[in-house]
Subunit: 266 residues, 2 copies
């Protein structure tokens, strides 16, 4: 069997998240429908990240297996003829048969966009979190590195009920400002549910002066979810990139927002 | 009677244009509903420009008359509580009783956004015209000034059947490039129906090498609609600003895209 990896960009606004659901539109559901139409049969597609409702992606990664002989570099064009305009496959490469988009992911980069302005945005309303507060970039930058490293991040997680290992590794956080826009890049080996949104929610509280700079470290060490800032809404979150250790180099490096990306991040 | 002028920003994607229709959502319909809810009665609101379905605005201007005593600087906040998130009133000022948003408009600035990229955009799909062609900024800039001045612009108009005076005055055209994005600013006393979209469609043909630079002047002088480039789609068009001669200075100067605006335009 051939194993094909696809890089997917999507606007999550109109979907109930990545994961297939019986009666609601989801990104995985749309991709599986398109893959089935092109390749025949009832195809299953595995995604790297189960993004939540309203969350976007520039570089979601998925894979599926097929015997069809269609060349990998034509697959994305074929799939795009079957997909709605808010989901585009950007690339397709063939990978080893044992490759698994979720289990083999070595790290992920998420971006969270905040717009700080007096007035609510019109054109960005489904693309950013709008805050009416002024944000102090220097305060947020001073706090961010205490959230980097291998820690128990339970204070930033939304618990799902089960007991599980809540230790995770964050490799780096970068924050950039362009006028009214703040972009938070969070780079890590893996994340707890809602961890990125709650970490950014905590930095946002520091940026607007509701928390002290030293509170980031204090909250992390407390392991107490009630101490952290709010879980910010999904529309500011973007799955930017998933990294693998593959001979196929840089499979998801075609990041779209050059202004927001720091190439030294890795 | 007090006469109140409002500046309106809207995402036109979900509306059948500005003008009120009995059974379809329109921007004027939403504004009139909100104004009626706040001020009581069955209020009529006059807009400066009847933007088409899918066309956006950063600075649509409208006015309405009322005896209510609500201070002008609170009106926009009140209206925004009654409006959907894709329409925001940005400002309200009191104007002389005889002021009329359409008849008194002295000039208008439209912006048309084109994205030139190999791949179709996801996040911008309702905000720009996507072209797969490479555009040569220098060629478009060399051609644009032959469309400036007082001319019969019938070659760039979509005729509505009636005979009318098709002479209009264009004060200036500016074209800027930021990476894959091209912004066309067209500043004029008034425009024929579809004139801006067809002028930009013609410059686009010049930019991608299908027309010669000298064709802009030739097409204008031909007065033949079949010679011009296509009427580009509505989602790239933005009503940016309407100018009046009022003591209330700069009523619509809070333009949102500082990167795209050339302050020397006026």
């Amino acid at each position: 069997m051939r194993n094909l990896l696809i890089t997917i960009e999507y606007d999550g606004t109109n979907y109930f998240g990545w994961q297939r659901q019986a009666d609601r539109p989801t990104v995985q559901g749309e991709i599986e429908r398109a893959v089935s139409e092109i390749f025949g049969g009832d195809m299953a597609v595995t995604g790297a990240s189960r993004t939540d409702r309203g969350v976007h992606a520039y570089g979601q990664i998925a894979n599926f297996k097929t015997n069809a002989a269609i060349p990998a570099d034509r697959v994305h064009l074929a799939l795009n003829t079957k997909l709605p305009a808010d989901i585009r496959v950007r690339k397709c490469v063939e990978v080893p048969e044992e490759f698994h988009a979720r289990y083999d992911a070595k790290s992920k980069i998420y971006m969270y966009l905040v717009k700080s302005s007096r007035e609510e945005p019109v054109f960005d309303r489904d693309r950013v979190y709008h805050t009416g507060s002024k944000l102090d970039l220097a305060r947020m930058r001073a706090a961010k590195d205490s959230l980097v490293g291998t820690h128990d991040f339970v204070a930033f997680a939304t618990k799902k009920g089960e007991t599980e290992n809540t230790e995770r590794t964050v490799y780096g956080i970068k924050i950039f400002q362009r006028g009214e826009y703040f972009a938070f890049f969070v780079y890590g080996k893996g994340f707890l549910w809602n961890q990125v949104r709650t970490m950014v929610g905590t930095l946002h509280e520091i940026g607007r002066g509701y928390f002290e700079v030293s509170d980031a470290k204090r909250i992390l060490e407390s392991k107490d979810r009630t101490k952290a800032g709010p879980n910010l809404p999904p529309q500011g979150l973007y799955l930017l990139r998933v990294n693998y250790r593959l001979e196929t180099k840089s499979i998801s490096d075609d990041v779209r927002n050059p202004d927001f990306v720091d190439n030294s991040l890795e």
